[in-house]
Structures are given as C-alpha cells and as structure tokens.
Amino acid sequence: MVLKNNLKEFRQKKGFTQEELGKNVDVSRQTIISIERYRYKPSLELAMKIAEKLNVKIEKLFYFD
C-alpha cells in the first residue's frame, strides 16, 4: 500500500501556487513539490494544516493505493 494524495488537484482548484501554499503552511515550495510527487510523506500536523488550508477532509486529500 502506497500513501498517495490529491494535493495538486485540490491546490489548483483553490488557485494556490506551490509557493503560496507552502507559505501558508510554513514549509518550502520544495516540500509541497515532494508531497505532490509522493516522494515525501508529511507529518500528521502538516497534513492537517494543508487539509485545513485547502478546506478539504484529510481522508480525501490523502489515501492508500
């Protein structure tokens, strides 16, 4: 089982750039890129911050494939 996410899709829907979303949740643009490419698994705290910022439930944002 691989942890995947719909971050790119939800981020674009909300009109955020990677840089803007990163600034909103106190991480770098590179961290957002890594999460979107499934390279980096964020901590629960960061995942919840992102979900809150994008106004989406965390289980819709992150899922097992």
Partner: protein, 140 residues
Amino acid sequence: MRLSKKEISILIEIVFSILFTLIFLPYFYKNQDTTFFLSDLIGKGTEIIIFVVIYFSIAYTLLEISYKNKITEDERDDMINSKSYKLGYLLYELSLFVFIGILINSSINQNGEIIFLILLLLLIVSVIKSIYQFYLHRTF
C-alpha cells in the same frame, strides 16, 4: 535544472571542501615527514582562517543577492539533515577506526603525517555527507 537556495548553500560547502583539498592539502601532504610545532602551524592556520572568511563571505553574499527569499527550514529539511548527519556520524566513526588502525600498523614518528591523515579523513567524510544531503534534497 533549477536549484533552490538550500541546495546552492550545500554546493557552496562542497566547493569549499574541494578548494581546501586543492589549496591546502598539498602543503600537508608534502610535509608529512615534518614535525610541526605550534608556531609552525600558526601561519598556515591564519592563512586557512582568512581563506574561510573570504570564501564564505563572498559565496553567501552572492547567494543572498541571487536569492532574495529566506531559507524556510521545515520538517522535510529536518528529516534530510538527520539522515545525512547520521551518515556523517557513521563515517566519522569508521574513519576513527581507520585512523587508529593506521596508527597501530605504522611507525608514525612525525605529527605531519597525523595532521595530513586527519585532514584527509575529515574532508572525505564532509564531502560524502554534503553530497548525500544534496542528493536527498534533489530526490526526496
């Protein structure tokens, strides 16, 4: 290939290690048969300190001019740092064993050889650690 400010700062460290190897290590290599006293090392030490100050001042000034944004340290950076410093720590341990092994198996009479060996091992470990850190930043 677009590099982030963090990646450039790691490259600055790698370039420093390479320059140090090219500029200062040959002196210690050539003087392995010498017994250094503190007074001998003060001159070379001063040269090294001046070089370090000038190099990092120029490099980081240029970096700050090119990249205006501040480096954001986040949990991914912490994880990359912990991985690379763990590797660095293991390599330092290994190099200590290598160093002790060389000391036991050879009859080193001059401290010049010891100084050269220590500098060489420190530089190798430092470069490997920085390259691994850079690799993680690019791929993780």
